[in-house]
C-alpha cells in the first residue's frame, strides 16, 4: 500500500511519547501505528482487523487519514467501501495525534509495555480470532508472561461466587500453578480473585486480562492483588491506559481469555453469567472447555450445568481433569504441519494422563480399544518418546 508516512505517524509528540514506551523490540513506526489503532478502534472490531491485516498497521492508518481527507483510496481485499465509510465514522472522533500521544505518555508513566503481533512476544493463539484478534496489548508487569501461556488454564466464574466456588477455584488454581500451569483469569471478585490468589500463593504464574486500561484497578479493592499479579505475572489490557471497563469491553476481554488459554474452566456461574460468554468463545475457538459441577440447588452452579448439557463442557472436579483438558489441546498442536498422528495414537493419548499413571486395562477402557491394540500403540508411542511407563502404568511425557 502507501509506503510514505505522513500525517499522524509523523507527529513529533506522538513519536517521542511512543519512543518512551517499553515494547518487545518492535519497529518504532509499527509500534506507533499499533498504539494509534489500539486507541482508534474498540476491541474486536472486524473491519479494523481486516483492514490492518490487509494493509499492515502503518499503511492502514495512512489510508484512514486519506479517507478522512477525501483522498481516493484503493480497493482493499475483504473490506467494502461501505464498511470503510461506516468504520471511518467511528475512527474519526479519535483520530487525534495529541490524544494518542497522551495515551502513550500515560502508558510510559505507568511503566506499561506494549506488545504487538510483529514484536518478539505475542501469542499465536490470537491468530484463531481472525479479524477479531487484538491490535495491540498493554501490559503491566512482566511482558514475558504472555509468552508463557503455552501451558495455561483460564479459571473464570461468578463475581458473586459462593464459598464453595471460591474454594474450588483456589484449589484448582493452586494445584495447577504448582505444576507449572499458568492461571489466566479476569481479576474480578469471586472466582477470578480466588484463582489469582491461589496461584500467587504457590508462587505460580498468573495473568489477569482486564476490560479497562492496564493502569486502572477495577475493582478498586483489588489494588493490592493487581500489584502482586503484576509482580509475578502480568495484568494485560487491550484498551489504552485509562480506558473505562465498559460492558462491550468486558465481553471482548472474555474472548482474549478464551483464546489465549490452552483450556477454559468455568468454576461457578449463574444461568446468565458473563463467564458463559467466555465459555462460548472457548467452544467457538475449539478450545477444551470444562465446567465445575455443584449442587443442583445452587443458582451459581446453574450456568456450569448448562455448559455441560448445551456446550458439552467436560465435568471438572480436580486439577488432573484440567491437565487432561490442556493435554487434549497440546497433543494435536504438537503435530501441526508435521506428520499427522495415527488415529489410534490419538485415542490412546486421549486416554492417558499427564500426571497419573494409568494401567493398560484402564487405558483400553477409556480408549475403547482392545488390550492388544493399546499395547501396540503404547509401544510405538514410547519409541517416539511421547509416553513413559512405570510399575504403575503409563502416562504422557510432558512437552518441554
Amino acid at each position: 500500500m502507501n509506503e510514505s508516512t505522513t500525517g499522524l505517524l509523523t507527529d513529533p509528540a506522538l513519536r517521542r511519547a511512543v519512543d518512551r514506551l517499553a515494547s518487545a523490540a518492535d519497529d518504532p513506526e509499527i509500534l506507533a501505528a499499533r498504539v494509534a489503532w489500539s486507541a482508534l478502534a474498540e476491541p474486536g472490531e472486524g473491519v479494523t482487523g481486516r483492514l490492518v491485516t490487509a494493509c499492515g498497521p502503518v499503511a492502514a492508518l495512512q489510508l484512514v487519514e486519506d479517507l478522512a481527507a477525501g483522498v481516493p483510496v484503493p480497493d482493499i481485499p475483504g473490506v467494502t467501501a461501505r464498511d470503510l465509510q461506516t468504520a471511518l465514522k467511528r475512527w474519526l472522533p479519535r483520530l487525534d495525534a495529541r490524544m494518542i500521544a497522551g495515551l502513550a505518555e500515560a502508558g510510559a508513566r505507568a511503566r506499561l509495555t506494549v506488545l504487538t503481533p510483529e514484536g518478539r512476544i505475542w501469542s499465536e493463539r490470537f491468530d484463531d480470532l481472525g479479524e477479531h484478534a487484538p491490535l495491540a496489548l498493554w501490559v503491566r508487569g512482566d511482558p514475558e508472561a504472555l509468552g508463557g501461556l503455552g501451558r495455561s488454564a483460564s479459571l473464570v466464574g461468578a463475581r458473586a461466587a459462593t464459598p464453595y466456588g471460591e474454594h474450588v477455584s483456589g484449589m484448582l488454581a493452586g494445584e495447577l500453578a504448582a505444576q507449572g500451569v499458568a492461571i489466566v483469569s479476569g481479576g474480578a471478585y469471586g472466582v477470578d480473585g480466588a484463582a489469582h490468589r491461589a496461584a500467587l500463593g504457590v508462587e505460580g504464574r498468573t495473568v489477569a486480562f482486564v476490560a479497562g486500561g492496564a493502569d486502572r484497578v477495577y475493582p478498586a479493592a483489588h489494588a493490592h492483588l493487581f500489584a502482586r499479579i503484576a509482580e509475578h505475572g502480568a495484568v494485560i489490557a487491550e484498551v489504552p491506559p485509562g480506558g473505562t471497563p465498559t460492558k462491550w469491553r468486558f465481553l471482548q476481554r472474555n474472548r482474549l481469555i478464551a483464546a489465549v488459554s490452552a483450556a477454559t474452566v468455568v468454576v461457578e456461574a449463574g444461568w446468565r453469567s458473563g463467564s458463559l460468554n467466555t465459555a462460548g468463545h472457548a467452544a467457538a475457538l475449539g478450545r477444551p472447555l470444562g465446567a465445575v459441577p455443584g449442587s443442583v440447588t445452587s443458582a451459581t452452579s446453574e450456568g456450569c450445568h448448562r455448559l455441560m448439557r448445551e456446550f458439552d463442557a467436560t465435568c471438572v472436579t480436580r486439577a488432573a481433569d484440567v491437565l487432561e483438558l490442556i493435554g487434549e489441546w497440546d497433543a494435536p498442536a504438537e503435530h501441526r504441519g508435521e506428520d499427522r498422528p495415527r488415529p489410534e495414537a490419538i485415542r490412546v493419548l486421549d486416554a492417558l494422563g499427564l500426571r497419573v499413571w494409568r494401567t493398560l486395562d484402564d487405558i483400553a477402557r477409556r480408549a475403547g480399544m482392545s488390550l492388544a491394540e493399546v499395547q501396540a500403540e503404547l509401544g510405538l508411542l514410547e519409541l517416539d518418546g511421547r509416553v513413559e511407563s512405570s510399575i504403575d502404568g503409563w502416562r504422557i511425557v510432558r512437552a518441554t
Copy 2:
C-alpha cells in the same frame, strides 16, 4: 423340538401349585416351564437364554431332562454341546419337581403374579437384553404396573446417600410422578427409597425391582415402604419366592432396571457405587443416561461426575431434563418398523421439549440448523401432528 411333555412338567404337585399362581393369561404348561426355569437358572445366564429362545421353555426343559438322563439330544442352534454340559451341572442340583412346586406354592401364598414373555403383560424393552432377558418375573402388587413403564425413569444411587442426594431424588421423583412418569428403582435405602416415597407421596406410579424374592423384604426396615409400593405399583423379582439377594443377583437386577426404563438417572453415587453398574447397562443398551451433579468435595457425587466424563451422561438438574431424556428415547421408538424419520426431523425433535415451549431461534441453535430449515421441518412435523405451536413457540405433542 420335543412336543410330548414328560417328567418334571407332568408332576401333579407342581401343576397344582402352578395352577394356584396368578398369571397374565399364560398357557399353563408354558407357565409351569417358566416357573421351573426361573428356579433352575441364575438371572441373566446366557446359555439358558439361548436355549429357551431356540426351543421354547417347555421343550428346553424336556431337553434338560433328556440330557440329565443321558438320552441323546438334537443340536441346538447357538448352543454348543459343551455349553450344555457346563450349564447342566448348574441346573441339575435344582432339577427337583418338589422343590419347584414348593416355590410356586410360596408364590401363591404370597399372592405373587408370575409374568412371562408369552403372557399378556410384559415389557418388550427386555428384548434388548437378548440372551440375558429375564425368563419370568414374580410380581408383588399390581402386575399391570410392568406394562405401565412406557413413560418411566429409573432413579438410582447410593444407599448411603447424603441429605442432598435424598432431597434431589425425592424432588425429581415427585415432579416426574406428578406428570405421569412411572418411577423405577431398587427399593434400597438412600436414593432408591427417597424416589419411591416421593412418587407415592404424589400418588404416582412406582415399581421396585429387587434382587431377592418378591415376597422378601430387604432391607427389613423397608417393610412398610414395600407394602405401599405393592399397593400403588409393584415389587418385581426375577428370582423365585424366598430367593436370597446375592451380590450377583444385585448386579443382574440392575440390568432389568436399566432395560425396562425409558431413561436412567444416577442421583448420587460414590466412585465405585453399584449404581454405576446400572448406568453401564443403560449405556450399553442405548438408553438415555443422566447423572445429577453435586459438590466436587462430596464423595457421593464422584460417581455421577465420572458418568458425565466417561459415559457422556447428561447433566440432570431438574425434572424437565429427565423428561427430555425420556423424549429422546420415545421419539425414535415411535417410528420402529414404520417409515424412517428424516434426519432433519430427528434433529428438530431432539431440540424440542415435551413440556417447555421453545422459540425458533432456540430450536435452530440446539439443532445446529438454519432458521429456514427448522421452520420447514416444523411445518412438516405439525402436519404429522408430532409438534404443536403457540405464542411461546413449539413443543412435542405427547404420544397418547
